[in-house]
């Protein structure tokens, strides 16, 4: 791994956290391509990124949980699956060579990008009776929606499908060092039929524990360099904080679209590097 100045990494991380928050894709998906462009090896970049994911997820989750929108039971049920996926994913990354990781990263980035444009299924009837397994799992809840000014009660569906799907989301998170939030939201939304706000906030809660499971594998393998991780963690958290505050005030979505184009280019660039288009010096 080449020696990269921590000062530069700090600035890169602020930008990554900022773009991650502005685009709604999370910090890791910008951070890892950026770190590799600045000479950090992809496995080290993945390991550092997954540690920073714990910080951004926990920071955001603390506010969402206290707001009462996050469904703790649904989150804790699904964590049983994501942590196993993350451990398997991180183990696969350690055994893999660099090229497939670049290609997998680019592919997941482009897929997550695509999900932003999927028309969300609008479930009007959130209280439709659940199947017996989901009912037994107590995957239900309610929250007070301040925007709509009413209480929204809901009953989750297909817990038996959501669990195994979450193993896959955890696998991607551990493999690539990202939160894989887009994928988790998609599962909560499409497979389990939860209201959109519950899906996004509950996904955020799950991401922290999933990232911890992946991190433990990278730490044990010696891939977490604290001297590089420290400025990156502070940078990503600061960037995400600024991005989230700014996002609330912006009504103009053209900035968001600009960042989405940046992400598209990063995804294509990662795949091309994985294919060796730029020569062997990945």
């Amino acid at each position: 791994m080449s020696i990269t100045s921590p000062g530069i990494l700090f600035v890169v991380s602020i930008v990554a956290g900022f773009i991650g928050a502005m685009s709604g894709m999370g910090g890791g998906i910008v951070l890892i391509p950026a770190l590799t462009l600045f000479g950090v090896g992809i496995k080290h970049a993945i390991a550092i990124s997954i540690v920073s994911v714990i910080a951004t997820s926990s920071g955001a989750a603390s506010a969402y949980v206290r707001d009462g929108v996050t469904n703790l039971k649904i989150g804790m049920f699904l964590e049983m699956f994501t942590i196993l996926g993350a451990i398997v994913g991180a183990t696969v990354t350690l055994a893999s060579s660099d090229q497939p990781l670049f290609i997998a990263f680019g592919a997941v980035l482009l897929l997550s990008w695509g999900t932003l444009f999927v028309r969300k299924v609008k479930h009007e009837d959130y209280l439709r009776p659940a199947d017996p397994i989901t009912h037994w799992l107590e995957l239900r809840g309610g929250y007070y929606d301040h925007a709509e000014g009413r209480q929204i009660d809901y009953e989750g569906r297909r817990g038996w499908l959501g669990g195994p799907c979450m193993f896959g989301a955890g696998f991607i998170a551990g493999l690539l060092g990202i939160g894989a939030g887009a994928l988790k939201v998609l599962i909560l939304d499409l497979a389990m039929g939860l209201p959109p706000k519950v899906s996004t906030t509950t996904s955020n809660l799950i991401i922290g524990v999933t990232a911890l499971a992946g991190t433990s594998i990278y730490i044990a393998a010696g891939y977490v360099d604290p001297g590089l991780a420290a400025p990156v963690i502070i940078g990503v958290v600061a960037g995400a904080f600024i991005g989230t505050r700014l996002l609330k005030r912006l009504s103009n979505h053209s900035i968001r679209q600009f960042f989405l184009v940046v992400l598209l280019l990063l995804g294509v660039e990662m795949i091309l590097r994985g294919l060796g288009v730029f020569g062997h010096g990945i």
């Binding site: 920071g59 049983m80 451990i87």
Partner: protein, 140 residues
């Protein structure tokens, strides 16, 4: 607070469930907030100190061959010997407290499910998550 149903028709059991859910949300929310703030504080102190000492943010060391608990015990030990404090101790503690944040969240949720809610199903689910995390953090 306004989420707790004040509906007079709500049964005592439903009200109790809503109150417990709210307590748990506060517990989990504040654990996460405190963990992230403590972690960032340690990391910022460590980096500023490093910069003041050397004029650079560069710290070059690895924590290979140690599992997380060795790492934590080693650094907590150093904290009680102020003479041995250096930026590394603070950086390590920052990372350790960050990793500890979701872990504590899972363990305290498990205790809450067992003691307050007496919900054995979810006590078992969180115990499983806690056990897998404990195992993976002991890996080396």
């Amino acid at each position: 607070m306004n989420r707790i149903p004040s509906n007079p028709d709500a049964t005592d059991a439903a009200r109790r469930e809503a109150r417990l859910e709210h307590d748990m949300e506060l517990l989990v929310g504040y654990i996460l907030l405190a963990g992230v703030l403590v972690s960032i504080a340690f990391l910022v102190i460590g980096l500023i100190w490093q910069y003041a000492l050397t004029g650079s943010l560069h710290l070059n060391y690895l924590i290979a061959g140690m599992n997380y608990f060795d790492f934590l015990i080693h650094d907590l030990g150093s904290l009680f010997h102020p003479a041995g404090w250096d930026p590394r101790v603070f950086i390590d503690l920052g990372i350790a407290s960050l990793l500890f944040t979701p872990y504590i969240r899972v363990v305290s949720s498990m205790v809450f499910f067992a003691v307050e809610e007496r919900n054995w199903k979810y006590t078992a689910f969180t115990a499983f998550v806690g056990a897998v995390l404990t195992y993976s953090l002991f890996l080396r």
